[in-house]
């Protein structure tokens, strides 16, 4: 490369680690985002340290300062093109808080409907497009076929079905809400449009089809993947941490759209708090080698450490965390699966690779929940938005995104423009655990200087499980 930039970028060996051998995995693939894994080996070729670097930052928290708050939900969706709905909804909830808005019931239902439908598509994407190649094709096949194209070659029928289901799910959202990627339909005070009866009926049909697919996917995964999980798989990237997730206020059940946050320690004890109180429980740590920050549970009073052997303040979120913190799931099929899952792995479950399983249980839940919401005819109430009045205030919007608990925290001035913002996205919560899992995986996989591509892919699989 010209200008020597890449050389400068190549990581230098950590001081005091003799051999100076550093293995760089970049980009970390089949994830969303820009990360680099650096595995530092000691003189014997054993892992001395690992780091997962977040390589870029865009600065949303900064550049939404000064923007009119009602415009912000349409801006922050661009934080993530895979889960824009989650940001869109969380941001609107935060702006509602700033402006003191109340949202009509139908508006709330439409918001939850859209957000949950987005969860479905996201899970299909992650499981089948990003993670499945490792399992369906095998983590050790050549990297050039270990991908969705490989799946298309290997199982064209499955691939066709998956692509079609996801596409249909996306189009359902788009048809009703206009825009599926970087949505605009959720607005401060509610939703931008109401649902007609005809639309409800049509969407209900579509969502029942999705539910069928979710059941098929669950069966398929159990038959072909989870049944083959061996102890190596279960221990890949396994670490012991706490968990964060949202549950229903009254019933402690799995909740994606609204509820209270439950911060569980590894021993199963937990704090419950509203999103607005997050700063009392969560702090964000900064490391010099990553643009990403590392949230941790400062409420536990133990500080921050990513040492896999004695982690401090580390918790995880995303689907496995949500299942761990939830007491139950309010839909029958998912509840049945949860019961089976718990009976096999206990609570809380620490095995990183079980994120995949938990994800499919959540897929089932999401499909069931969408059917529930659409069966309720009150969702077609034309009153979907109340007028909002820009003013000074603070609001914290919180939802469960596919990748974990999502927090948008805004303050506004009298003109209703943003003065300060903090956003903690799902993957950010998991940055410390990911680092730990990578270290754990690398240590167990790389011994005496022996490295192969498939091993490195397995290290990446530990990252991929978190669906960052």
């Amino acid at each position: 490369m010209n200008g020597g930039r890449p050389d400068a970028e190549k990581e230098k060996p950590l001081p005091g680690n003799g051999s100076g051998r550093v293995i760089t995995i970049q980009p970390v693939t089949r994830i969303e985002g820009h990360a680099r894994i650096a595995i530092h080996l000691d003189e014997d070729g054993n892992v001395s340290d690992t780091r997962v670097h977040v390589m870029s930052m865009r600065g949303f928290e900064k550049f939404i300062e000064g923007r009119a708050a009602e415009e912000v939900p349409r801006i922050v969706s661009r934080i993530c093109g895979i889960c824009p709905w989650q940001h869109h909804v969380a941001s609107n909830k935060a702006v509602d808080g700033c402006f003191g808005a109340t949202v009509p019931q139908a508006g709330l239902k439409l918001r939850e409907l859209m957000q949950t439908m987005a969860h479905i598509n996201d899970k299909i994407l992650h499981f089948f497009f990003l993670a499945a190649p490792d399992f369906v094709l095998g983590s050790n096949v050549d990297y050039s076929v270990r991908n969705i194209m490989g799946i298309v070659q290997h199982s064209p029928e499955l691939a066709g079905k998956v692509v079609q289901m996801r596409h249909r799910g996306q189009m359902m959202i788009e048809k009703f809400s206009g825009k599926v990627i970087h949505p605009v339909a959720v607005v401060p005070g509610g939703f931008s449009r109401s649902m007609s009866e005809a639309e409800r009926v049509e969407m209900l049909d579509g969502s029942r089809e999705q539910l069928e697919f979710a059941r098929y996917a669950m069966k398929l995964a159990k038959d072909r993947i989870f049944s083959k999980y061996d102890s190596d798989t279960l221990s890949l990237g396994e670490i012991r941490t706490g968990f964060l997730g949202m549950v229903g206020i009254d019933d402690g059940a799995l909740a994606l759209h609204d509820g209270v946050l439950r911060l569980m320690q590894a021993d199963g004890s937990f704090h419950e708090f509203s999103g607005r109180e997050y700063t009392d429980f969560i702090g964000e740590h900064v490391e010099s080698w990553s643009y990403g920050k590392f949230p941790y549970a400062h409420a536990w009073g133990e500080g921050f450490s990513m040492d896999p052997d004695s982690p401090r303040g580390i918790y995880r979120c995303n689907c496995l965390a949500r299942l761990n913190v939830a007491d139950r799931i309010n839909t029958p099929l998912a509840q049945a699966e949860l019961e089976e899952f718990r009976s096999r792995f206990g609570r809380p479950v620490q095995s990183t690779m079980l994120y995949h399983w938990a994800r499919l249980i959540e897929l089932l839940y999401a499909c069931e929940r969408v059917v529930q919401l659409l069966e309720d005819t009150s969702i077609t109430d034309p009153r979907v938005r109340d007028e909002v009045w820009p003013r000074a205030g603070r609001g914290v919007g919180c939802v469960e995104a596919p990748r974990g608990t999502l927090l948008h925290d805004y303050s506004t001035d009298e003109n209703g423009c943003i003065t300060r913002a903090n956003i903690i996205v799902g993957t950010t919560h998991n940055l410390a655990p990911i680092n730990m899992s990578v270290k754990q995986a690398a240590r167990s996989l790389i011994r005496n200087g022996h490295v192969e591509e498939s091993l490195l892919n397995r290290v990446e699989m530990a990252v991929r499980a978190y669906d960052p």
Partner: protein, 324 residues
């Protein structure tokens, strides 16, 4: 012969890649014709093959280089330059790549301001120095791709409509110049328009325009004529796709914010919109933060930090041409 494709995302969000997947069955069809040699989201090709120990990026040659995202740090720049060298045709996909996109809003701030807020003055953050180890340094601002490398095909959109991604890929496979929409969003908007003369002033989007869910959009009055800022007239069409019923935001009864960038490649959405409103005698004082009319097209020096304004003055003061 199968066309080889290398794809990268730079200062982006993966939305463009999602849109690619949203081509649905066309996507599968494409996979049969295109041979992806690099695409971090879907395939495992790395920069430092095979064992992550080589020095320097290794990019495969490809017929087609598809890049989403603008350029924000030195690594983005290096990747973009390397792709330019290795790819016959570079397609800038998405408004971030063509005009800077939403992330170019940061151009209204300096990196110092950004870091200060991000690492030192955000609630809940344990204040610390700005990360500087290994992570690539940021450039002074966000750049659109064509500010740094030559771009052959511009496909704006946030995200670009799958129909047009498909159109571009198909055209390039057939060795043709892609044909993309050239008019504004209004071209695809069925809302009834009569003229803006009745609008006295713009109001903020704090309540919905009147509509009935079961009535077709053809019966809806133009949102701009409803007194809502709609960037449709100054924004490139495309979001409605090839056959879509209406622009996407309009389908949600939400006014356009300009995500396809200016109608003409080098247009200025802020200037054009302010001009159109002023020409119609519309009072825009109600709208705060008018700079954000450029929220999708702030690269190319359009959005700037407030501090750089007085270059002319500085020049006057220092009595000589500035050589910054």
């Amino acid at each position: 012969m199968r066309l080889t494709v290398a794809a990268e995302w730079l200062n982006s969000c993966a939305g463009c890649e999602m849109s690619l997947l949203n081509m649905g069955e066309d996507f599968i069809a494409c996979l049969r014709i295109l041979s992806f040699v690099h695409m971090p989201m879907l395939i495992d090709h790395k920069y430092f093959e095979p064992m992550g120990e080589k020095i320097g990026f290794e990019f495969p040659e490809a017929d087609l280089g598809i890049i989403s995202g603008g350029i924000r740090n030195e690594e983005h720049l290096a990747i973009a330059e390397e792709m330019r060298r290795k790819c016959r045709v570079i397609v800038a996909i998405g408004t971030c790549a063509t005009h800077g996109g939403i992330p170019a809003l940061i151009n209204m701030f300096s990196n110092d301001e950004l870091f200060r807020r991000y690492y030192r003055t955000t609630v809940a953050t344990d204040a610390a120095d700005t990360p500087a180890v290994v992570v690539p340094p940021l450039l002074d601002r966000t750049y659109a791709l064509d500010e740094k490398i030559r771009v052959d095909v511009h496909l704006p959109g946030c995200p670009p409509h799958p129909d047009h991604i498909s159109a571009v890929l198909t055209a390039l496979m057939n060795g043709e110049q892609p044909r993309l929409p050239t008019k504004s969003v209004c071209d695809t908007c069925p809302a009834r328009r009569e003229g803006k003369g009745a609008v006295q002033k713009m109001r903020r989007y704090t309540r919905n325009p009147r509509h009935q869910a079961d009535k077709p959009l053809t019966e809806m009055k133009c949102l701009l004529e409803n007194g809502l800022l709609c960037m449709g007239p100054v924004t490139r069409a495309g979001c409605a796709g090839e056959k879509g019923e209406a622009p996407q935001c309009i389908r949600a009864r939400v006014p356009c914010r300009g995500c396809y960038g200016p109608v003409q490649k080098n247009g200025n959405q802020l200037l054009d919109m302010l001009n159109a409103l002023a020409s119609n005698g519309i009072d825009i004082r109600n709208l705060p933060d008018r700079q954000a009319f450029l929220r999708f097209s702030g690269a190319h020096g359009r959005l700037n930090r407030p501090g750089w304004k007085t270059r002319d003055r500085q020049q006057e003061e220092t009595a000589g041409p500035e050589s910054r």
